[in-house]
Amino acid sequence: MATAVGTLGHTREESTVWKWMTTVDHKKIGALYLITGFTFFLVGGIEATLVRTQLAVPNGTVLDAGLYNQLFTMHALTMIFLAIMPMGAAFFNYFIPLHIGARDVAFPRLNALSYWVLLSGGLILTSSFFFGEAPNAGWFAYAPLTEKEFAPDKGLDFYTVGLFIAGLASLMSSLNFAVTIINMRAPGMTMMRLPVYMWMTLVVAFLLILSLPVITVALVQLYFDRNFGTNFFTPGAGGDPILWQHLFWVFGHPEVYVLILPSMGIVSEVLPVMSRKPLFGYTAIVMAGASIGVLGFGVWSHHMFTTGLGTVPQYVFSASTMAIGVPTGIKVFNWLGTMYGGNIKMTVATYYSIAFVALFTIGGISGVMHASPSVDGQHQDSYFVVAHIHYVLFGGAIMGIFSGLYYWFPKMTGRLLDETLGKIGFWFIFIGMNLTFFPMHFLGLAGMPRRIYTYDAGLGWETWNFVATIGVYIIVVGVALFLVNVFKTFRKPPDAGDDPWGGATLEWATTSPPPEHNFDVVPVVRDRDPVWYNRDHGIVTPEKPAHLHIHMPPPSYFPLVLGIGILLIGVGALSSLAITALGVVVVYYALWGWALEPTE
């Protein structure tokens, strides 16, 4: 075999599938992430719908207890690790180079690898349904429920291996994004001229880089407990289940900000453009984002107030949790200040952004309530907590992602989504979301514990449970309308033009969809809102040169091969050592090919 096998000639005609499998173009990879993330969003939605259907009436009989446990666990894992994070990564991929004026990310092949590894992790996690039993101990998988004694099936092994691999993917993409943003900026793009979205991306990347190793250690320990007989988390033999909670939440709390910060970034892009005025308080919002990133590492034990932390730790973590509410609050005022006095274009993206601000604020306020240990003791493990996290993750993260989808769809495809259909869909999702999750506050305060698969009549929970289930079906209609909108839009010719919204950031300075090399001439940045600055100062984009001497990295199949190797290692960890060994060989082979592959 020649050494240059991974490099494909530009001249040979390749099939479309092969092109996508070997692509290293950040825009194509972004699209892959988006499709994958949205597909898992639908899977997670189906799981949620089943869960809510079971709970619609007292003593529901749709699911049995075992399947119910698997479904609520997989709903959370799917939504968090396979839907929201990949959709966030999709926009990161697509827009980091466009926002900072680069031709691609710093490591195009690593970028492709991240995607394939993420897909491997997602497939392993989801395939658990077909191999006996899915993980069933909740997404934070508290020990000792997860130990062999109480979970003899393979489900929790799929959890450890699947999350390990998905985490590896996130780590690689985060390293890539961090280096790209720091090191690949266009001339004039100083750190304090970066779009807020880029700042949030950078914070997210560092949160992941620094928190993923902790969960990795915890997952390895759990895997050893279950497969090699260690006793890290089994109390009888000297282990400590609380250690799992600590390690999990040292990762888990920064993870919560990983889920919400991208949406905060999206909203910070959409609102100024739609209000036709610059973001109010750029420095404040950037500093708030950075301090959320730092403080986010110092609040994890507020998930564990009821474990008997002791008085001093309760004070400390309660205080730090309340403190982290401050930068979050600052941002809300930034968004309101941005809209105030603006000539607001009420597009669907604006709708979703405003909904984000409103709903996220509700979720944020119920979050501050939990910062008080005594209040938290009442809310712990009740539906109030479920209401809180869904206001933050659905009302926050998902609303932001939908805003981004409507805002950036014309850039990614050259076609504008239908605004009327979009607004109808918005109202379905908005009303459905509030119908589903607001009553959960009441249910929680009325004493309904989370994660019960059925409940008796006469406890005062019937009405609100039924309302919540109705709400889910309304959301389903809203999401279906979005899909209809997408399919409808793809059937019409491109109509968006390069800059349908009058955008401020660099992605609107190139064509829709952008060419493979993003910019014919690398832009020079003179202001935080470069496109507006150039428009107001009459600076025209330089003519497209007759000959573009731009070297884009050639496609490569080594990321895919390496991804398959890692998938094999994961499958081997769940079945036999032989497959793991094969995986290691494949990984090593792919690394050799990767290293020696010419990238010129």
Partner: protein, 120 residues
């Protein structure tokens, strides 16, 4: 250094020589020998632990600064690495103080039949 760049022009760091590297290696070995000696000595426990941790921190710093060239690199790399290092140290200290001050968790757990209600 291969990666000197435009922003650092004029900032010609003294290129380390083989001799300097070997001296650094000898110094590291010497510190290790001192550590070894300390661990066998009959110093008070607290003092010994402080000294041992202090000396290994010195070794750590020497390797990072000289062998890993961090002393001569763009400051940004130092900041990036220190961020992880400091965070890891803080989380370690926090976790250890949480667990070591935890009086509800006796060694090996409380045996069956002797459990008492948690104290407040």
């Amino acid at each position: 250094m291969a990666m000197e760049h435009e922003m650092h022009h004029g900032d010609e760091h003294p290129s380390s020589t083989i001799r300097q590297y070997v001296m650094t290696g000898i110094l590291l070995t010497a510190i290790t020998a001192v550590e070894l000696f300390l661990s066998y000595s009959s110093l008070p426990h607290g003092l010994m632990i402080t000294l041992l941790i202090g000396l290994s921190a010195v070794k750590f710093a020497i390797v990072v600064a000289i062998f890993m060239h961090l002393k001569f690199e763009n400051r940004l790399l130092t900041r990036l690495f220190l961020f992880g290092l400091v965070l890891a140290t803080c989380i370690m200290i926090a976790l250890l103080s949480l667990f070591w001050n935890d009086t509800t968790d006796a060694v090996g757990g409380i045996p069956e039949g002797q459990q008492t209600a948690p104290k407040h």
